[in-house]
Every structure is written in C-alpha cells, then in structure tokens.
Symmetry: C2
Subunit: 361 residues, 2 copies
C-alpha cells in the first residue's frame, strides 16, 4: 500500500519531504504549542514571507488562512459582494462558486464556456462588483488564458477580480498584481494533506469589506476580513487554526524555494508535454481540451474511448493511482495530476505503463 503513487488531482501524492517534516513536528511539539504564543507567530510569519517570495505577491497584500478554498468562496461572498458578481465558468468548480452566490441570494451572472473553445467576447455586466476567474479548472483540465485575464483587468479597472488558483500555483506563473484577491488549497500543487485554504487579499478588498460592514451588511464573524486582518497583523488567526498544516506549508515552501520555482515550472511544462504527447500517440485516448492555450499543465485530462475502467484498474495493479473523470465524465475521462510532488521519473513510468496497457488491448 505504501508503494502506491497518487496522480489524482487532489488530494494527491504528498510532497516527498512531508514525512520528515511531520516527524520533526512531533519532535518539536507543533501539535501542542499555543496558537497565541511566539513559536506559532514565527511559523505563521515565516510561511507568509516564503509564500510572498514564491508567488511574487505584491507587498501590500495580506495572506490569511482558512480551512479550505471552498470556505474562501463563502468569505468572498460575505465580504466583497453586496448584490452581484460575474462568474466565468469553465467547469464544475467555477460553477460551484457561482452556485454559492445563489445560496446567498445575490443576483450574480454567469458566462459559461464549453471546454472545447475559448471564452468568446467578455461581457461583464455593469452591476457586477466582482469578477470570478478560475485559472485552472481541476474538474476538466481547462486553463484560463492569462492574456485574457489581462484583457478583463484593463476593461474592468473599477471591479474586483478574484482568481481561483487551486491546482495552479506554484506550478504555473501568475501575475498577482493584476488581481485583487486569489486563493488556493494546499492538497494540490503544494503536496500537503488537506485541511487549509490560503487567501491572498489586496488592499482594495479590505476597503470594500469595511464599507460593506459600515452599511450594516453582514460580513460574517470570526472570518470577516476585519477579524482576519486584526489577528493576522499579530501573526495569529481568529480561531485555533490547523497549526500542523501551517507548519508543513512553511517547510514545503522552503523546500520549493530551495529547489527553485522556475525549475519547478519548467519541469511542469516538460511533464505536461509528455502526458499530452502520450494522449496524442494512443488511438484510444483523446485530449479533452482542443486548444493548446487552454490545456492545463497541472491536471491533464483525456477521454478514453470505450471507457476508463480497464486503464484505471491496470494502473492500480501497478500501484499507480490516477483520477477518473469528474461528475458526468466519471467513466469517460482520466485526470492525471502533474504537481511538484510528481517527479519526471514517475510521470515517465506512468506514460510507459499507459502505453503498455494499450499495446496489449
């Protein structure tokens, strides 16, 4: 069981140093230290400094910890939208954020792109206070064209832009100066056990939330931006947080910084090319996203003609665990994660086994 390699799109293979960091955490009593004490404050501060460096976060942006990226969707709604947001939907996760706005009885709007094409003309309604973009749709492997983000920014200088970076950073470069708020969970590219979400928040967001609160609109309680900021300024969190995961994130960030982010991003490109090449070469496989610019480098998705069961089971017998399709594509698609925890050798081994399976059948 311990020999299994997980290429699932998250939770996924843990970053190779996690076991060592967990052992150190136990030795250093990280599970017992106070979340109001100096030791925790130093861990939190160091994590923020490393993340700022690794993602090139503008210096006046805040970094907050929540329990998941899912939670951040709700906190964005509570803090940053009074009446309406506009959502670019390119798969199930971006759609789910839009659905949350319905639960909060906002009059949000949506622009859906079929994954077989790029988003057409961008039509953001005047009344939208915030624009939601999903960089990398984990459900279908659709990547939002960075040039289009620039374009949306230029045409909507007054609106907030929220960028979903789940399964995107640090594997692909992102220009956060274009963005007002961004967020991700740690069980994708960072190779951590699930349990925290990271919320990057620009100064304009803090103002908007403050203005919303001053009009007596509800902005939540312990995770209102004001509460997060007040505690964050002391390198603390409003509640007792998942200290262990913050510690792990800090340490994995340090490992990645040492390895070099550009090196991680180059390897990501190489491994993605290998996967898409394999999809191209095998008759029974068909890359789901036709336009190259929209093909995710971190979650590579292929249709399997005749169904995915045989392939998935074959790979499992070789201790290689890949993801099935999401929701309605459960039996047709395979999703292969290409995260920093996946070495070149492991991806080479995987495509090799995929090749062997289709030679036999």
């Amino acid at each position: 069981m311990s020999n299994q390699l997980f290429f699932t799109p998250g939770p996924s293979q843990l970053y190779p140093t996690i076991t060592q960091h967990l052992n150190n955490a136990m030795r250093e009593n990280i599970g017992s230290i106070s979340h109001r004490g100096k030791e925790f404050q130093m861990i939190f501060q160091e994590m923020k400094e490393l993340l700022s460096d690794v993602l090139n976060i503008p210096p006046n942006y805040e970094i907050f910890i929540t329990s998941s990226a899912t939670e951040i969707w709700e906190r964005i709604i509570q803090n940053l939208i009074s009446k309406s947001s506009h959502h670019f939907v390119n798969g199930s996760f971006s759609e789910r954020f839009y659905n949350f706005t319905t639960a909060y009885q906002l009059k949000s709007t949506v622009q859906i792109s079929d994954f077989s094409q790029e988003f057409g003309e961008f039509k953001v309604p005047d009344e939208a206070e915030l624009i939601s973009i999903t960089q990398n749709e984990t459900s279908i492997g659709y990547s939002f064209n960075p040039d289009k983000i620039k374009n949306i920014r230029e045409n909507n200088s007054e609106k907030l832009i929220a960028l979903d970076l789940v399964s995107a950073v640090p594997s692909i470069p992102v220009d956060l100066s274009q963005i007002d708020t961004a967020y991700f969970s740690v069980q994708k590219c960072f190779g951590l056990p699930a349990g925290i979400g990271v919320w990057i928040v620009g100064p304009k967001c803090l103002e908007v939330s403050k203005a919303k609160a001053s009009k007596n609109e509800i902005v939540g309680s312990y995770h209102s931006l004001a509460a997060l900021k007040k505690n964050g300024d002391k390198n603390q969190t409003p509640e007792t947080p998942n200290v262990l995961n913050i510690y792990l994130l800090k340490n994995v960030l340090k490992d990645m910084q040492l390895r070099g982010i550009s090196s991680i991003q180059n390897e990501t490109k190489y491994k993605a090319a290998l996967l898409y090449q394999t999809f191209d070469q095998i008759t029974e496989l068909k890359t789901v996203i036709p336009h190259r610019v929209n093909r995710s480098k971190t979650v590579c998705v292929s249709e399997v003609l005749g169904g995915n069961t045989g392939l998935i089971e074959h790979l499992k017998s070789k201790q290689l665990i890949i993801g099935s399709g999401y929701e309605s594509f459960k039996d047709q698609h395979i999703r292969i994660a290409n995260f920093p925890a996946h070495s070149k050798e492991s991806i080479e081994m995987l495509v090799d086994e995929i090749g062997k399976y289709f030679e036999k059948t």
Copy 2:
C-alpha cells in the same frame, strides 16, 4: 524540547498514541486518498460510530465535521436562529458566541454569571429560538451545573438548546438526550492537533434549518445543515476535509473506547481532586471558582497571589508547560488542563513541582 509536557488548556499534550497513528497514516497514504472514495468513507463512518458509542449520542442525531468549534458558532447562527437566541455566559468563550450573534445582527440576549457564583434564576425570553449553554468555560474553569441544564430543558421544551462541549467530553459525562445540538474541538480532551470541530445535530435542528431556508433566509452554502446532511449520508463532507485529523480522531476514539470511558472519567476526577487539593494547601494559591459544583474537572484554575510569572517559569524549567490566565487574568491565574492525555503520574509530578516551588519561595 521533545521532553516538554503540555498542561495548557488546548492545544495541549497530544494523546500518547498520536505519533504512532501519524506514522501509520503516512504508511497508509491517508494524506493522499480521495475524500470521495471508499477508504475515506469507511474512516468517516467508523469515526461516527465510535463517537456515538463513546458519547452515548442518541441514534437519530447526526455527526458533522467542521474546521473548528468557532466555525460551529457561526453555523448555528446561520442555520438555527432567525431573530434571537439567549446566551448563558460564564466566561470569555460563551461571551464570544454571543458576540457572533451581534455580528449577524440578531437581537440575542445574554445572562452573565460572575464565576464566583452559580447562575441565579434562569430568565429565558419568550422570543429566544435557541439557548446557548457552555458546559466547561475553558477561559475560567467554570463548569455548568448539569442539574440546571435539566431544569432549563424542562422549562423550555419548545426551544433549541445548544451545548458547548469544548474541553468537556469525553472526560465528564453529558446527557445528550437533553440537548438539540452540541459541539467540540479536538485539541482539548481528545488530544489531537487542532484543525477540526465536531458538530452533533439532533433532528429538530435539521427541521429548523429547513424551515429557515424555505422562508428564503440565508443558511450559508457548503456548510448549511442541508449540505452537511446530504454529504454526511454518504459518509462524505461537502468540501475536501482535514482527512488526516478525521483518521486520527477515529483511532484515538478506538484507543479511548478500549481504555474505557468510565475509567477515563474516574481518572479525571482523581486528577482534578489532586489539583484542587494542591491549590487549597498552598497559601499563595487560591481556587478561582468557589462553588465545588462549578469547578471544572478538566481546566483547573487558580489565582496566584503576587502573580503567576515565577511559578510558570519554574515549571517551564522543569519541562512542564501550564497555561496562564485568559485575557484580563493573564498575569494572575494559572490554568492547568486535566485531559485524558495527562496521566495520573504526570499530574502527580506537576503538583509535586508546584509544591516545591512554593516551599522555596
């Protein structure tokens, strides 16, 4: 550093089996498995069965996982209160829940008891939809008299009762059949790293939340009771949860079940008696809660005449870490956790060192 023993009121000493369970988790790839797969579902189901047994939870009650007890305060407000709740406040944490209702612009009411006395006559306004009681105030070591809870239940059969069980279970017995909803975090008596809250929800709560939603009142999004129930029925969670902590909770519950809950509760009484006896015998110490019935068995609090710094530092030099007072009592009080992770021998060693310190001074 690894020799330190934490008697802090949470995060606190980890349960002695945690390191072993973490090692097993790494071997079993618990950080990588899918939260939509069978393996996770079995872990979640087994955890719920064990918890039901250990806490004697009525069979028609649900068990949900959140990120903290703090989050549960907010979810209770969103799902179960439309206009007003009534809060029995016996310290900073019960007060904080009341403050959350203000953030949500409810017209809630509060009845405050000075810790030096029992709550007087219970005056619950007719308009209160929910009554909040805190079994064990971690901030001041005040325990709510169980007879009074029975009394409140009898006089308020139509209202919901929410019981805060943070730092109470499984160390002290609680009759959940009296209660509509209860909750706790795992970094207190269960000796886990922080990162999840457990929410026990009776059938009446599900009805109330459903009725609230049907009146187009906002009940949240991914953690609305309906969403938690829909996923919980499949032994899943709406978001990617802290799988590792759910696994640890399952295993620690199994350990505790084997050890015997009545044995844990009897040891808790013995160790608490030892601590309060020590406070009585030493001139410089003074138990903060005068009435025996209100003295917490799990968080024992004493005033230190002349200030707590010397004592805390002395104990730290012996690798024994205790808690200081909460907020305004920071320099005056000591708080000593008496959780299942704290062996009789460790508490005996602690009171011994406390005795030695005051002999010297």
